[in-house]
């Protein structure tokens, strides 16, 4: 997966130069005028003007040039998504995936996005947070006709901002978004800002209501979700974020679910540097270890990866780091089940008592097809008992590739262990 980022870099390197003509337009845009001079970095020295964003477990949407216009093509269609091994769902997405591929462009680009509808019903695409002519806003019925199945619409506008935006449907919005239709729309500034970011990640949050043993999310569920994903994957199938020690890291987090998600990083504190409204002025950036990402928003965080090791990055709502479970279970905590367990096992062979001493350390006794245990995952020191929105930022010294480096080798004396008398 990390190799792919290099390939994208090559793509960028080999790609077309920045649109020079557009810069003139931008010079007169209000956004450009407002930007303090201090934020603008040095003139780009080469065709590469941005560090391409890494979308773990996802991809970046390629483009073609048509007379100075960056042309993207999104295909809205049903997709099958493997959230983790043994758990595949029937979702809706773009170009075979959910979330859809990340659209990356540069402030000042004129972009044309073709949207082909292969869904069973009509759709539209709204460019969340993008400043554009009203008729390109993508609100079915209000700013455009809905895109009927089989039709292809063209959206075209010039980008006059930078930041982390999103795209998602605005037809049958509740259902289509519940089914997974969304993606990043990342607009890079014309000039790299300082301090420069060395690694740039994009994580799209989502939550699903898929009963164990079923495949199709229930779009009518409002609050009772049971599967939580980063970029359409649950732990332990979320790619690790591999970073070299000392790099400045940006993580962009998008949320189009029904809940806010407080995303927490271990081992570091970070600055909240942007929203889908735009960059936060440095004096207004605030420190966090947990950034709350509200519904319908993005948040950019930045930090210097100065602490080597394997650092969890996860939603701090503890139910969101569990895979599917029931919420109406009898409470067996502290209840002695000895004796009764055997009697029930005679009635139902294979029964094992659960819950007396908590929910940890349980053997997986098997579940319905297309379901996964509530907690899972193994680390170098044993069971991790996690699920859902949980991944690891791996900070290593002196790495030259972003291949997963395996588990961190701790320096002696830095691992908590039992006291020996």
């Amino acid at each position: 997966m990390k190799k792919r980022s290099l390939t994208r870099r090559q793509l960028v390197l080999g790609g077309p130069p920045l649109v020079a003509g557009g810069a003139a337009l931008l010079a007169t845009s209000p956004a450009a005028a407002d930007r303090p001079r201090a934020e603008q970095g040095p003139e780009p020295t080469g065709p590469q003007a941005y560090v391409p964003v890494v979308t773990p477990n996802g991809s970046t949407l390629p483009w073609t040039m048509d007379n100075g216009v960056k042309v993207f093509h999104l295909v809205a269609e049903p997709v099958k998504r493997e959230l983790t091994g043994g758990l595949v769902i029937n979702a809706w997405g773009y170009n075979g995936q959910t979330p859809g591929p990340t659209i990356e462009a540069v402030e000042g680009d004129r972009v044309r996005i073709l949207v082909t509808n292969k869904l069973p019903e009509r759709t539209s695409v709204h460019w969340h947070g993008v400043l554009l002519p009203n008729g390109m806003d993508g609100v079915g019925g209000l700013t455009q006709r809905h895109i009927d199945p089989g039709q292809t619409f063209a959206y075209e506008f010039t980008l006059r901002q930078h930041g982390t935006q999103m795209y998602h449907p605005h037809s049958d919005e509740m259902l289509q978004m519940a089914m997974g239709m969304m993606g990043f729309f990342i607009i890079h500034p014309r000039r790299a800002r300082t301090p420069t970011v060395d690694r740039d990640f994009a994580i799209f949050l989502h939550e699903w209501a898929v009963k164990p043993g079923t495949m199709t999310p229930d779009p009518s569920v409002m609050l009772d979700f049971n599967l939580f994903t980063f970029n359409g994957r649950t732990f332990p199938s979320i790619d690790h974020l591999v970073v070299r020690l000392g790099q400045r890291v940006r993580i962009r987090i998008a949320n189009l679910t029904m809940d806010s998600h407080p995303i927490h990083l271990h081992g570091h504190s970070f600055w909240v540097t942007g929203t889908d409204g735009g960059p936060i002025p440095p004096a207004a950036q605030w420190p966090e270890t947990t950034v709350n990402v509200p519904v319908g928003s993005t948040r950019d965080i930045e930090f210097v990866a100065d602490n080597p090791g394997d650092w969890p990055l996860h939603c701090h709502k503890t139910h969101h780091v569990m895979n599917g479970m029931g919420h109406d279970l009898p409470n067996m905590l502290g209840v002695n089940q000895q004796g009764v367990e055997g009697r029930i096992r005679r009635l139902v062979p294979g029964y094992m008592a659960m819950g007396t001493r908590g929910m940890g350390g349980m053997m997986d006794m098997g579940g319905p097809r297309n379901s996964v245990p509530m907690m899972t995952g193994t680390g170098p020191f044993g069971d991790m008992e996690m699920g859902g929105m949980f991944t690891v930022v791996k900070i290593r010294e002196g790495i030259t590739s972003y291949e997963d480096p395996g588990w961190y080798r701790h320096p002696p004396g830095t691992v908590a262990g039992p006291v020996t008398t």
Partner: protein, 474 residues
């Protein structure tokens, strides 16, 4: 006529020295029992075979009781049935009596002279003696007819006894299946109660640990108590069924300690051929045959009541011992039918005969309906038992299995698992009840056709018929 006379005389001679038992009649009952029920019967009359019968009963009861063993024990041991055998004795006696001539009547009259009326004589005259011998000659003429009548009645008795054997065999089978299903149902109820026990115990412990409300615990406890009551009831039904079977088998004391498998057999692979059962029933049913005999009996009785026979013929011979010798000669008494020439009796007999004909027809109609009804019930219960066995029970097992898998995934709790198992047991209960209905329908069908069904050919799969014809498939 001559042949009949000869036979009548033969009967007279035989009956004069015959054993006081009806061996030929019971032999036919024994054959009937074997062909219609497949079991032996025995009439205890102080022969060495009695001990064999007792031993057979002891042997059958010492092993786990089967349906056939229960029927055999009952046929050998049920006192009511043994009492019915004596009807044969009575009928046999009547048959003997019908062949007997009436005893002659001997009369004697002694007359002495009245001395006062005659002039005194030196030698008193001897008294006069009059003797007579009378014989009911009509009885000689009527012996063949009376014998015929008595034979019919004997036949009827034989049929009644045979029918009693078949009825008892059917009753025993029904009671046996009732018992087996009661044991099986009690077992299902036991498992149901065990599940409820486990749930109530967990709830009790949850309450102790402070994890649930008193209300929730009380609900689980109430379900457990209700389940235990259901079990007690089921156990009581087992004892009831057992005693019913004991009564039918005529056992008491240590002989009531028999055991059995305690479960119903599964459906047989093939159904007996269920076509033409109505015709079979009408031919084979013994109670119908008895009614037929009754009509013949009344016909014979009407024959016996011919006007020319009615006047009582009394013939006698008398002799008179007189002073000058013996005077003798025959005499005859004849009833002159001027007023009563037997028309009343004949009218009554004709009415009785017509009544018997109606009863016969009515019974035939009922028998046909019984057969159709039993056949329909057999096919319906079979289909339902198959449905339980092949469709519902596997699905209920799948519900339990899937509930366990979701329990493993912490999606459902242990109480949902116990409920799923209880629902499965309830379905099992329905299956057992339906299977019982099937086996009892089978017994009823066999009884309705008069004993045994034709041997199985193909699995019957046609739907129950409600039309008038005899199971003919469209």
């Amino acid at each position: 006529m001559p042949g009949r006379c000869v036979r009548a005389l033969l009967l007279v001679s035989i009956s004069a020295c015959a054993l006081p038992v009806a061996r030929p009649g019971f032999d036919s009952v024994r054959d009937l029992a074997m062909t219609r029920t497949g079991h032996r019967v025995h009439w205890y009359q102080g022969t060495p075979e009695d001990e064999q019968a007792f031993a057979a009963v002891r042997d059958l009861l010492s092993r786990p009781l089967t349906r056939d063993a229960a029927v055999q024990v009952a046929l050998l041991n049920n006192r009511s049935l043994l009492a019915v055998y004596e009807e044969l004795g009575v009928a046999q006696a009547d048959l003997v009596k019908a062949g007997l001539l009436a005893n002659p009547v001997f009369g004697v009259e002694l007359r002495s002279r009245n001395l006062a009326l005659n002039p005194p004589a030196l030698v008193p005259a001897p008294p006069e003696v009059e003797a007579s011998v009378g014989m009911d000659l009509l009885s000689i003429l009527l012996i063949p007819l009376r014998t015929r009548l008595a034979e019919q009645q004997f036949e009827q008795a034989r049929l009644r006894v045979g029918n009693a054997v078949i009825q008892l065999a059917a009753e025993v089978q029904t009671a046996f299946w009732e018992h087996e299903s009661a044991v099986q149902l009690a077992q299902a109820r036991r498992l149901f109660a065990e599940a409820a026990d486990a749930g109530a115990e967990l709830a009790r412990r949850q309450r102790e640990a402070g994890n649930i409300q008193e209300l929730e615990q009380a609900v689980e406890e109430s379900l457990m108590l209700e389940a235990r009551l259901g079990l007690a009831q089921a156990d009581a039904m087992v004892l009831e069924a057992r005693e019913h079977l004991n009564r039918l088998m005529g056992v008491w004391g240590p002989q009531t300690a028999w055991t059995s498998q305690g479960s119903l057999p599964d459906l047989p692979h093939a159904e007996p051929a269920v076509e033409k059962l109505e015709s079979l029933a009408v031919t084979e049913r013994l109670d119908l045959a008895a009614e037929r005999r009754q009509i013949e009996l009344l016909t014979r009785a009407l024959d016996l009541n011919r006007p020319w026979l009615l006047p009582l013929l009394d013939a006698d011979a008398h002799a008179e011992l007189e002073a000058d010798g013996l005077a003798f000669g025959p005499g005859v008494d004849v009833q002159i039918p001027i007023f009563d020439f037997g028309q009343a009796e004949r009218a009554a007999l004709r009415a009785q005969k017509r009544a018997a004909e109606q009863r016969f027809a009515g019974l035939a109609v009922d028998i046909r309906s019984e057969v159709r009804s039993a056949r329909n019930r057999l096919l319906t219960t079979r289909a339902m038992a198959e449905y339980y066995r092949d469709r519902l029970l596997p699905v209920r097992a799948r519900v339990v299995e899937q509930t366990l898998l979701l329990y493993n995934r912490m999606f459902l709790g242990v109480f949902a698992l116990l409920r799923a198992r209880q629902d499965e047991l309830a379905a099992r209960q329905g299956h057992i009840e339906t299977l019982l209905a099937y086996w009892q329908a089978r017994v009823e069908l066999e009884r309705a056709v008069g004993g045994r069904l034709p041997t199985p050919t193909v699995t019957e799969s046609s739907p129950p018929t409600s039309t008038g014809h005899t199971g003919h498939r469209p």
